[in-house]
Amino acid sequence: MSKYKNILNSILAIIFALFVGAVLIKISGHSVKEAYYYLFYGAFGTSYNFAQTLLMTTPLIFTGLAVAIGFQSGLFNIGGEGQLYWGAFVTAIIAIKFTLLPGYLLIFIALLGGALAGGLWAAFPGYLKAKTGAHEVITTIMFNYIGILATTFLLKRYFKADGPVDQTVMLTKKARLPELITNTRLTWAIIIGIIVVFLVDQLLKRTAIGFDLKVVGENIFAAEYAGIKTGKYTILAMIISGAVAGLAGGTIVLGVLHRFITNFSPGYGFTGIAVAVLGRNKPWGVLLAAFLFGALEAGGMAMQLFADIPSDLMEIVQGLVILFVAAPAIFEIIFPVIKKNRGVESNV
């Protein structure tokens, strides 16, 4: 499928998902007009609301990108959640322990440490896959549990702050990411996200490393034939993927929570899979998809707050978007015109 057709398909998917969402809102007895007014208002209405959208977007950029890197290399990394927790945990510990460092350096080293931790955590399933053929879907799912519980354990055992909540102490001011707009919690994290998108895009498009990653992802037998060390690239892909997921955790700690709290993630790692699918595993596509999800999230909250419509409805819309993107054939049933044009591609 061509690039433009992909974009058209995605836009159709969004429109159609919003339409089905409208039907659901109607059925549940609410005003569609009111709901979508607040949805839009909540996402874009004021600069504060827009900042909330971007705030929700940020972690999904990282986790979506992590999944996309895996897919491009032929790996289905479902372990984003566990890698995110390790990233968050190590970032927090560094930020708490190395307060003597100057601010920017401290932030840099804390995030770097978080990325390394996420990468290392993902390297294990990568190694298992390369050496024993253990399927990464199974191992990364298991590593999620281990990662989340291991960080919880370490926190409770060694780093817990006084009080009833399982969390670390607050980070010092200088270890926190500076806000872009005051009192919004929207920080430099999103800029870092965009930079990482750019870097990953360049890596995949312009470097021999990225080339080899894609070759392994497309056809592992051709990779062997061409002399690419497939095991090495499997591990490398997992490390890069895990490091990016780790940054999701790190930036939340330094930008939003300002501490590590157990069970803080509402499943960013898993939502990343949906974001990657919608973004068709292209870095810039992931950025746009994350933005859409962020807007639905922020708008959904406003909808709930002002119009008393459950924001869960927006999760349904998110799900529908993915459904329509993943199964474009649905459109062909709805719009036979597209199907007619597709006949052209049949082999002669």
Binding site: A208, V215, A226
Partner: protein
């Protein structure tokens, strides 16, 4: 009586005519070959006959009745059966289950398996199509799977059988068996349409031949009134050299030497045993054998894709036993793999990326890992020009190319590097006549330029016309060797089949 009669059948895909006003008729009880290069429109035409495609215009008659076919069900109802090139079988079901699927003999909603097996057995005996009715399809050979497909059609009472490139997946022996089956079917009054792009098969099996080129019919001839050269001319539209001109070679120094090589394939149980041979510069050494006798293992051991247990491989005076694929390539290896879609290229990559594959870390295509697409595209343009690569769109991906052009892409990539040893495995498999001619000429040219070439092929004609020396491999052992002129075709056939006591002297 005419079993099938087509009048002015036209089918367009986008702006290209797949079939352009084709008149085509098949007599009842004959074997009719539909011959043409890849993309000539053969498959489209038979898919129209089988109801898989709808014609844009024209008329279809089956048994002298004008018919409208909306889908395969309509064709099956008129006793037309099709055996596809890629089998439509379920691996996890038994042969019987596959054959009856969709037309199960049943009573009160329960399948009567005993009845089903009896029917299948009867059919298989009647037409001499040997199958074990209760084996799982995933566990039987390709030849047997094809017999299952034929039985499937016969079970549905097919009188007209269409076979789409049935020999593409078969070994020479299986091909022979298939031809026997076809003769048998013909004797019992069935009509057979046989699609192929191989001239020899056409001459062997068909009563009449219709040749297609670029979506048009070139003509229909009786096999007894024609010859391969004429058919090739009809197919390609120009004179084709079916035999290459191999002059006396003057071999140079030893390039590859394999001594006492032993390898055991743990999966299949097949072993290479005590393989010894060497190739000199300016020499083509051919490996003859029925497929599955160790050729793939030998190819991949030499290429570095499998590690072997014992012996030595020496390339350009270096023992390369422990060399990685990359190191072997640096040491002079060029490899045209036998399975081009699996090994040789990446179907979703465009031409430029496929051509740089394997050199993506090397100057001038990359400068420390940073790719230089100016250079890569320049390289692509050179190869496209030099090897006459044909593609439709500017950014075509490899999967969209014809088989012949895919092979040219691989050969172009491999031969453009600095190498002096070419490991050419099945270099013309699934490639049309024009491209075969080109590839053969190229290999001879390489040999004359002093390269050492190991040619592994399932095509006896190819081996006999290109090789200076031949080895015959049987069950992983070399059973005969000698200069090519020493062997007759019959001798080679016998040796390949395992009758090796009487043949072959050492060089």
């Amino acid at each position: 009586m005419k079993a099938i009669e087509l009048k002015k059948i036209t089918k367009k895909f986008g702006n290209t005519y797949a079939n352009n006003k084709i008149d085509f008729s098949v007599q009842q009880g004959e074997i009719h070959c539909l011959l043409g290069e890849n993309g000539a429109g053969k498959s489209t035409l038979v898919k129209i006959i089988f109801g898989l495609y709808q014609k844009d215009s024209g008329e279809i008659k089956i048994n002298d009745q004008i018919v409208k076919l909306k889908g395969p069900a309509d064709a099956i109802a008129r006793k037309v059966g099709m055996i596809h090139q890629h089998f439509m079988l379920v691996d996890s079901l038994t042969i019987t289950e596959n054959i009856i699927a969709g037309a199960e003999p049943s009573s009160k909603g329960f399948i009567n398996y005993r009845e089903a097996e009896r029917k299948v057995r009867d059919l298989s005996e009647q037409y001499n199509l040997q199958v074990k009715v209760d084996s799982l399809v995933g566990e039987i050979s390709v030849g047997e799977q094809q017999r299952v497909e034929i039985l499937k059609a016969l079970y549905r009472n097919a009188e007209i059988l269409i076979l789409d490139e049935p020999t593409a997946v078969l070994t020479p022996q299986e091909t022979k068996e298939l031809f026997n089956v076809l003769e048998q079917l013909k004797k019992s009054g069935k009509t057979i349409i046989f699609i192929t792009h191989k001239l020899k098969e056409t001459m062997q099996v068909a009563d009449r031949v219709s040749v297609l080129r670029d979506g048009k019919k070139v003509g229909t001839v009786e096999t007894s009134q024609t010859n391969p050269a004429e058919l090739a001319r009809m197919m390609v539209g120009r004179e084709v050299l079916l035999k290459v001109n191999r002059t006396q070679n003057n071999p140079g120094e030893k390039v590859l030497e394999i001594s006492n090589l032993n390898y055991k394939n743990k999966k299949s149980g097949l072993s290479l045993e005590d393989i010894n041979f060497s190739i000199q510069a300016g020499e083509i050494l051919g490996i003859a054998g029925v497929e599955g006798n160790g050729q793939l293992e030998l190819e991949e051991v030499i290429a570095g894709l499998r590690s072997f247990q014992q012996g030595n491989i020496e390339l350009n005076s270096k023992i390369i036993n422990n060399f990685s694929v990359k190191e072997r390539r640096k040491n002079g290896l060029a490899h045209i793999p036998s399975d081009r879609l699996k090994r040789g290229l990446i179907q979703n990559f465009n031409l430029a990326n496929n051509l740089v594959l394997g050199s993506e870390w090397d100057s001038p295509y990359a400068y420390y890992s940073i790719l230089n697409y100016n250079e890569i595209n320049k390289f692509k343009d050179e190869i496209v020009k030099e090897f006459d690569l044909r593609y439709t769109k500017n950014n075509s991906i490899a999967g969209e190319l014809s088989g012949g052009n895919q092979q040219k892409l691989i050969i172009g990539r491999e031969l453009s590097r600095e190498t002096n040893f070419i490991l050419a495995a099945q270099p013309t498999r699934g490639v049309d006549v024009g491209a075969i001619e080109y590839i053969h000429k190229l290999l001879i040219e390489m040999r004359n330029n002093g390269k050492a070439i190991l040619l592994i092929s399932a095509e006896l004609d190819e081996l006999r016309s290109l090789s200076d020396h031949l080895l015959v491999i049987y069950e992983g052992k070399i059973v005969a060797r000698g200069s090519t002129d020493k062997f007759t075709e019959e001798e080679l056939g016998l040796l390949m089949a395992g009758h090796y006591q009487q043949g072959g002297e050492n060089v």
